[in-house]
Point group: C2
Chain length 87, copies 2
């Protein structure tokens, strides 16, 4: 029971891990120090995890990585939006 | 076989996901736009994944999250190092 809580806590924390960065980008409208390579690498990695989750039919893997992938897509969108401000 | 490749690719990409951000911080010596909350949330999440991996004795979960946790510790260390530059 307590291990399920630890596993769920782990999943929730990492699943919404990019939310604080998205909030910060929206607040400061600046992405100068954020690594685009990091965002793309995670987006691609989470897409592969999602495909793998669908293949092995693991609902937790599917949900967690779908949420992460969506939040990374938002972060990448904001990156390009606010990078243009700087040019 | 190809699904194992997809799973391994997913694990490798996310495991080393913070490396590009670490490289960028070392290069620019600036962390103004990086969310500390994001780094701490991921570090805590990956630590819980690591504990969970040890509990269920899954070597991939253990290795991937140990590497992620170490890279996040480095990123958090660099964050405080270069944040001080700004004060």
């Amino acid at each position: 029971m307590e291990w399920e809580l630890i596993g769920s806590g782990a999943a929730l924390l990492t699943m919404f891990g990019f939310v604080p960065q998205i909030i910060k980008i929206r607040k400061t409208k600046s992405v100068e120090d954020v690594s685009l390579f990091m965002l793309i690498q995670f987006a691609f990695g989470m897409l592969l995890w999602l495909l793998y989750g669908i293949h092995i039919q693991d609902p937790i893997l599917i949900i967690a990585n779908a949420v992460s992938f969506i939040s990374l897509t938002i972060a990448i969108g904001l990156f390009f939006k606010y990078r243009e401000n700087k040019i």
